[in-house]
């Protein structure tokens, strides 16, 4: 009697979560498992054929473009985001500080079509900045094109930069003024303080920021698609073209490409979560 009651108590409350788990099963787990299985089977047999095909130079180029774009925007985002964040938190004008944080908050949510279009307006071949630079003798075109990887890098920074600012501000606020003073008293220069004290302390936060920014740009599609169509060869653009059936190839190939992308992104997100949990615990 006692035992059965305990048993009852242990699993019955889980039933209340059933709708939620069914949702997760129906729209997350099952679709994903189907895709994994489909990428690994041909005519009912286990095969790595599609992964071998995914390693074709054609797709390797898409992967390397995506990796390059993600690394660049993440690196630039981390470096400039941290600098701007430091400028923001050391500003004495509280009003300006709040406005800048709010602006970052709002802009991280920008992306996709409207953002891409805004960059065409300012940096397209007849864009405002393009014309302005031409006026002072700098000809952007044809060496630079907004519809290219370097163009995309600038556009992505529009949401990467504010994201990094929001991520790093708590860690920057965690740097104690006394540490700086102690370093100076011991004869260090401000530069030495940053390189030998502050940056090593910030390192886990910078790395986790890098990983999140990397994943953020790795999985991005809408901005790139609006800005460049299929001009720029990114892996998400390739997968989307396969889904829409614009390119006639084995559907399983799209599955294999998706699973590889998924693994890359998952590794970043897991790394980010692990690092940020660690730094959070370290502070508590």
């Amino acid at each position: 009697m006692q035992r059965s009651k305990r048993l009852y108590n242990s699993w019955v409350p889980w039933l209340g979560l059933l709708p939620f788990f069914i949702f997760g099963l129906a729209f997350e787990l099952m679709p994903l498992l189907t895709t994994i299985r489909s990428s690994l089977t041909s005519k009912g047999q286990l095969t790595f054929e599609f992964y071998r095909q995914a390693m074709d130079p054609l797709f390797l180029r898409s992967f390397s473009n995506t990796l390059k774009l993600s690394t660049n925007t993440a690196l630039l985002g981390v470096v400039f985001g941290t600098i701007v964040a430091y400028a923001i938190i050391t500003t004495r004008n509280k009003f300006l500080q709040n406005v800048l944080i709010a602006l970052s908050d709002v802009s991280t949510n920008f992306g996709g079509a409207p953002l891409a279009f805004a960059f065409i307006v300012i940096l397209g071949s007849t864009g405002v900045i393009t014309l302005l630079l031409k006026e002072i003798g700098i000809h952007l075109y044809p060496n630079f094109r907004i519809y290219s990887i370097s163009g995309l890098t600038i556009a992505y920074l529009y949401f990467q930069l504010p994201l990094m600012i929001l991520l790093i501000i708590p860690s920057l606020l965690g740097l104690k003024r006394e540490w700086h003073e102690a370093a100076i008293n011991l004869g260090a220069s401000t530069f030495q303080y940053w390189v030998r004290v502050a940056l090593p302390i910030l390192f886990p936060s910078l790395l986790s920021g890098f990983l999140l920014l990397f994943a953020n740009s790795f999985g991005a599609y809408a901005t790139a698609w609006t800005l460049t169509g299929s001009d720029v060869d990114l892996i998400t653009i390739r997968i989307a073209a396969l889904i829409r059936g614009e390119v006639q190839l084995a559907p399983e190939l799209a599955d294999a490409l998706s699973i590889i992308s998924l693994l890359v992104m998952l590794a970043c997100v897991i790394g980010y979560t692990w690092l940020s949990n660690r730094t959070r615990k370290g502070k508590a």
Partner: protein
């Protein structure tokens, strides 16, 4: 000024310029007669705004975007509110699994989610492929964390256990505890979650494009179509998207500053 102050001011100035110029320029572009030969617009006009808002497709796509956003919001509310409350109250052990389900979309690129849904639902006899319903389901997956986080934060901020026991001792049943005691107490979290979900779904492009395509045109789909046809009218549409995003974000800041924690979110990539 001290060199440090100069450095700080110029960094902030450049940052502000980078963040604001694209938006201002898009707006100016949408009210210019011509602005592709000269440094300043050749003239100002409201023609493009009139043209773009006089089309039926404009209101239809706006309506579709609002529909998708509200449907996602309501379905998520119905799914997540009871679940988080029940999890906190009775099954705290389930938290890691629940959080895995909610953060699924952080680790899965939009195109991969779309592909996986198509693969699975084209195999089973459930006619939701190409139907707006699958878009709502996909948007729910995408915006789950934005509904879940504020709700959990709000629940943790109130004494939900004491409230539940008090209501129970007064004879309330589970349903009325949830709807009449818990929900009113976590309202700021609910509103915050709804706004985050709204701004995510309203600007959603990837899933819409791949799952329903032209069968259910939303505002971002319409905008991308226009960027390839008429730049000036597209700029008016882009300005509308910016304004919607700004208003929602300002509301979120307003709600969160009055209590409750904020949740950063990523949308529309």
């Amino acid at each position: 000024m001290k060199p440090q102050a100069v450095w700080r001011t110029s960094v902030i100035f450049v940052f502000l310029l980078f963040m604001i110029v694209p938006v201002i320029a898009t707006f100016m572009f949408s009210i210019s007669t011509r602005w592709d030969r000269t440094l300043w617009p050749e003239g100002l006009t409201l023609e493009w705004w009139k043209a773009v808002t006089s089309r039926g497709a404009f209101f239809l796509t706006l309506k579709n975007s609002f529909l998708a956003s509200f449907a996602t919001m309501l379905c998520l509310l119905a799914l997540v509110t009871p679940t988080t409350y029940w999890m906190k109250l009775r099954v705290p052990k389930s938290k890691p699994i629940i959080e895995m389900v909610t953060t699924f979309s952080f680790g899965v690129p939009g195109v991969v989610l779309a592909l996986a849904l198509i693969r699975f639902y084209s195999k089973i006899p459930l006619p939701i492929i190409n139907h707006p319903a699958i878009l709502v389901a996909a948007c729910m997956v995408l915006s789950l964390p934005f509904m879940y986080r504020p709700l959990v934060n709000a629940l943790e901020a109130i004494d939900f256990r004491v409230l539940t026991e008090a209501a129970q001792s007064l004879g309330a049943n589970g349903w009325s505890i949830l709807t009449r005691v818990i929900i009113p107490n976590i309202m700021p979290g609910i509103i915050n979650g709804c706004l985050l979900v709204f701004s995510t779904v309203f600007s959603e492009y990837t899933l819409t494009n791949l799952l329903v395509g032209t069968r259910f045109k939303t505002f971002p789909i319409y905008l991308v179509e226009y960027t390839r046809q008429d730049g000036r009218q597209a700029s008016a549409l882009a300005v509308i998207s910016f304004v919607v995003a700004w208003i929602t974000s300002l509301l979120i800041i307003l709600v969160t500053s009055k209590g409750g924690q904020k949740t950063t979110h990523l949308a529309g990539r």
